[in-house]
Symmetry: C2
Subunit: 112 residues, 2 copies
C-alpha cells in the first residue's frame, strides 16, 4: 500500500490552494521544475503538505495545504517560484484555474 | 483543445469538496457508479461543477464545487449517494481524505 500521495494535514482550519491545469505538449524542463517547486514549497514556513495527480490526457489537480493565507502569499512571491509561474503561463499550461480555500472540515478513512 | 475538465465556477465565495483517494483493484461497477454520481450531483441544487483526475497508480483527486454547505450536506445525505459512499468505503477505496473548504479567491489563465 502506497500512502505517499496523501498529505498529513492537522485539524482544520487551514488553507488549500487548488490548482487545476491542462498541460501543453512542451517539456522545457517541466518535470524538473515541478519537482523543484514541491521541494522548495515543502521548506517554506506554514507548508502542511501537497497532493498531486495528472492523468494521461494532461489534466492535473494539485492541492497544496498551508497554515495561513500569509504563508501562501509569501510562497507566491518567492523569487524562484515567480520564474516558474511565468514559464508555466508562457509554455507549460494550456489552461489553469487556481483557487484559494479555507478548509473547515476534514474526514479520512483508511483500510486497516 | 479540451476544456471539459474545468469547472465553470462563479466568483467566490463558494465551497469546494476535495476528495483525494487511492483505489483498490476491485471494480464492482466502480466506473458506472462514479459516472452516475457525477450525473446525480450535477442535478442537485447548488452544484457548481466538478474537476476529477486519476492517474495510472490509482491515486485520484476529485473537487466538486457547491454554492453552500447546505447544498453539500443535502448531497451527502442523498439516498443513492449514501449507498455509493458505503460501497466506496467497503470496496473501492484503500484510503481517502475528504475536505470541505470555502473558496475565497480564484484566478484563471487560458491560452488564446
Amino acid at each position: 500500500m502506497n500512502d505517499s500521495g496523501f498529505a498529513k494535514t492537522p485539524r482544520p482550519p487551514y488553507y488549500a490552494v487548488i490548482f487545476t491545469s491542462l498541460r501543453t505538449s512542451r517539456e522545457n524542463d517541466y518535470g524538473k521544475t515541478a519537482d523543484r517547486m514541491v521541494d522548495l514549497a515543502s521548506q517554506r514556513p506554514g507548508f502542511l503538505g501537497v497532493e498531486s495527480v495528472r492523468d494521461g490526457n494532461g489534466l492535473g489537480i494539485t492541492v497544496s495545504y498551508w497554515a495561513s493565507t500569509e504563508a501562501i502569499s509569501k510562497w507566491k512571491a518567492h523569487a524562484e517560484h515567480i520564474v516558474a509561474q511565468e514559464t508555466g503561463t508562457r509554455l507549460w499550461y494550456e489552461h489553469y484555474e487556481l483557487r484559494v480555500a479555507k478548509v473547515e472540515r476534514a474526514y479520512a478513512k483508511e483500510k486497516t
